[in-house]
Symmetry: C2
Subunit: 193 residues, 2 copies
Amino acid sequence: MKSNEIKEAALKYFTIHGYEGASLAQIAEEVGMKKQSIYAHFKGKDDLFLQVLRDAKETELSSKRQYFSKFGSKNPEKDLYGYLQLVIDLFQRNEQLKFWLRMSFFPPVHLEKVIEQEVRDIEEKMQAILESKFQDWINAKLIVGDAAITPTFAFLGVVDSILLELVYGNDEKRLQAKLAASWTVFWRGISHQ
Amino acid sequence: MKSNEIKEAALKYFTIHGYEGASLAQIAEEVGMKKQSIYAHFKGKDDLFLQVLRDAKETELSSKRQYFSKFGSKNPEKDLYGYLQLVIDLFQRNEQLKFWLRMSFFPPVHLEKVIEQEVRDIEEKMQAILESKFQDWINAKLIVGDAAITPTFAFLGVVDSILLELVYGNDEKRLQAKLAASWTVFWRGISHQ
DNA sequence: TCGATTTTTACGAACGTTCGTCAGTTATAT
DNA sequence: ATATAACTGACGAACGTTCGTAAAAATCGA
């Protein structure tokens, strides 16, 4: 399918240059066609962008859902740390996550309402799943605290800080050091008495 | 000084639309002049951008340095939490910090080498200051742990996660909740036995 | 202090390029 | 033969930039 090739190239350029900085001419050249030919597959730049966005959202959602479903109820340390490693792994191998991250925080202004809606949607789903897991672990007395919201937000914060390091990311050593530090302190913070 | 007005407008548009999305025509209109007149003050778009970047860097550096200098050696809880609130305050009132953050993570490609250098410079300075403070607190047995690097990186992670929430930021409630959660867990993680 | 001179700032006009998009035509494949 | 896909050509608009020019401001010698 040629449409997918176009979306792949678009994903790449949108990720590197942003919406405004990516041109249809470059995207088309990457696929080996003229920019006008893109219009045989998409209504225009916005349409292409939104389809790429929705694909990225779906990938993000399903891959994380899949991992969350493997969470048990008796080993939060392993599950949570494994999730952080998954995020790193996904980010480094999956172009879609980088795209998703960039557009979450710096969307093209004229599409920001639509994007914000998608971002909020996926975020709420993730938070809900995580929160219920944390509640299970609290009930099982595997971690301390009364409200599940605290470790949930704190963990989401750790994920965010790792993602930021990945975006900035040219220093694998530093990434691993930050991961280790954040994880150590986080785990002490929710597990110790 | 008209140059400063131009830089102010440029800061605004670069922050909202990114380098590629910001046009000299819009920036000029904001100041009440034509785009050609900008060339009486700056060599071109890149020159304007880099001057704005360096101003932002200086503001960021001096404002944080100023706060760090007030850090004592006997109350890390107050100092660190106060710093987080300062970051939030600065971000919400100071356009330059938003600009700095956006360009740190998603710089225009053709200037990414220059920007990366500036970012790395400021980051190393911050890290060095923080690390020495943490070492003092460890020595004074006010926080636990052996190496200062662990709480330093963990704290920088908390700062990053707060910044990310600020960027995304339309939800003050959620911001405060995330701050509270991250701080609670972080402080438990470095202070409790 | 004054007029003369130089420098600074802003402007209209235009440059060459690139942008996204649309219309019409040709080639390919079902 | 009919639909799909890619092409050529062209469109208006916007981009950053350069030119020459005209005020305005600053500098300077008398």
